[in-house]
């Protein structure tokens, strides 16, 4: 699957879904769209017609507020019909704002409260290794989410138990809910922190698909450490007026803003 094309589709769906749903977090989806596209388009072993295939790679979106991006990727991969995406946020729909597994094939874990995904993914990786199974577990996290202490409990645990089948991916766009990360709770030296905790760290441009594919691939050299991929991203990537803006964590694209966003993403509006 062409991951560039998939990323563009995810972005267009996300803008339309947040437009129709009058919902927030479009900036957070645009930020991670390339990561999700490379995962679902290339890296993850999954079977859309068999969502519970036992040997599938597990993917957890821990930054659950960007659920629209995962719904879009799953629909484009054929887990469910693309036309269901327009029900995002709608009354009576299954596609809640924060990602939910109930009734949505392909979603492993419902999240929305930050700092949960890594522990659950760590448990999955532990059980998987115990049973001698070979698939990997990926957890996509936000940078602001790393404020949550529970993550650091999991980070210690995964390194202590040498869970090499676990991959944490950080969508490091450097902007959190109210202000830049640097002004909220400083994460730097971020990569060093993960290394000090015993993780293998790979940094990559989070919008460069080749770099992402290399970073997310199984490590070439044998390692017994879990991997942290720090993906340097731009919040709101792909829509010029949303990029690097705290505002678009919450603002919903309406009217002319919606039209302009879709035009920048390659064509006229879908809705």
């Amino acid at each position: 699957m062409d991951t560039r094309e998939l990323a563009l589709k995810i972005r267009r769906h996300a803008v339309t879904m947040t437009h129709l749903g009058k919902s927030s977090h479009v900036g957070a989806v645009l930020s991670m769209a390339d990561i999700v596209a490379v995962l679902y388009g290339r890296v993850l072993a999954v079977k859309p017609d068999e969502p519970h295939w036992p040997d599938r790679d597990r993917f957890i979106l821990s930054k659950g507020h960007a659920g629209a991006g995962v719904y879009a990727a799953l629909a484009e991969r054929g887990f469910f019909p693309v036309d269901q995406l327009k029900l995002h946020y709608a009354n009576g729909s299954k596609l809640s704002g924060h990602v939910s597994h109930k009734g949505i094939p392909g979603v492993e874990l419902s999240t929305g409260s930050l700092g949960h995904g890594l522990s659950v993914g760590t448990g999955m990786a532990y059980a998987t290794r115990l049973d001698g199974r070979k698939h990997r577990v990926f957890v996509l996290m936000s940078d602001g989410e790393c404020d949550e202490g529970s993550n650091w409990e999991a980070i210690m645990f995964a390194a202590h138990h040498r869970l090499a089948n676990l991959v944490a991916v950080i969508d490091y766009n450097k902007i959190q809910s109210l202000a830049p990360v640097e002004e909220t709770l400083r994460l730097e030296p971020f990569a060093d922190k993960w290394r000090a905790f015993g993780w293998r760290v790979v940094e990559a441009d989070g919008h460069d698909h080749k770099a992402l594919a290399a970073a997310l691939a199984a490590p070439a050299a044998a390692t017994d450490a879990p991997t942290c991929v720090i993906a340097h991203t731009t919040k709101g990537k792909g829509v010029s007026f949303m990029e690097n803006s705290v505002l678009w964590h919450y603002r919903t694209p309406q009217g002319e803003e919606y039209e302009r966003a879709m035009a920048e993403l390659g064509g006229p509006a879908d809705a």
């Binding site: 597994h101 492993e108 874990l109 419902s110 999240t111 929305g112 409260s113 700092g115 949960h116 890594l118 522990s119 659950v120 993914g121 760590t122 448990g123 999955m124 990786a125 532990y126 059980a127 998987t128 115990l130 049973d131 202490g149 529970s150 409990e153 999991a154 210690m156 645990f157």
Partner: protein
Amino acid sequence: MRDEFIRTLTDIAKNNRNVMLITGDLGFGVLTKFWTELPAQFVNAGVAEQNMTGLAAGMALEGKTVFTYSIANFPTLRCLEQIRNDACYHGAAVKIVAIGGGFAYGSLGITHHATEDIAIMRALPDITVVAPGDPVEVAAATRAICKLPGTCYLRLGRGGEPHVHQGEIQFTVGKAIRLFTGSDIAIIATGGILKQAVDAREALKAAGLDVALYSMHTVKPLDREAIAEAARTAKLIVTVEEHSVVGGLGGAVAETLAQLPGAKAILKIIGLEAGFSSVVGDQDYLRGIYGLSAKSIVRSVMQTWKII
């Protein structure tokens, strides 16, 4: 109770390699048997209850039945949201075990008094809440929750609780055990306070009252039939729990009784009335101070009996 629990769990886990035990770095001397005999099924998560519970949910989603183990409020309140979102919402087979329900760790201070846990846990959707009354019930409850799908909370005492049941019992999750029948008063107790309820019943019987006694080991789902039966046969229902009077067994029975068509029985809820305990003392001492000794239960029941 804790010894009976770990003995039973070790037994189960020996025959089922998918049964796991994770501790939050507690259980010195208690967990040794499981740890040494089944090292692959044992994890010490460290002093990190949020991660312990998230881990358990992740393992459960991969097909394991995972017991999380700690004391007092650590495996429940400290990681309440992990229980709610990661375990309950996903129907994950996470079995939360708290040692030290009520005042079992009395002298250690209020951090170690698990006195609101039943109320808080039973408020969660898709969870089973079990508080066995004696070691015999503990063994049966451990086996039962292991077989149940989904998330369960097992509230245990500490060590040295007396046996109330002599010999085999019929234990079903969600079905109270009726120890005695009686037409004046029905006492319904949950958890390790059961022995005090038995002693209180003896004293009330000696005073000429006909008193039924139920061990309501499962607080959620509550045995509505047992409550309906008690409401039909007795004039006064008394709930006894080593727990706040807000939202625990008494609250659960009140919710049922108040909506029971034609129920005439009056309800008296015996538990911890108000505030934190800042008194230092062991379990028996604190039970005495807070109206939960057999003697205080009798006094309280008699006071209510006289005015109805």
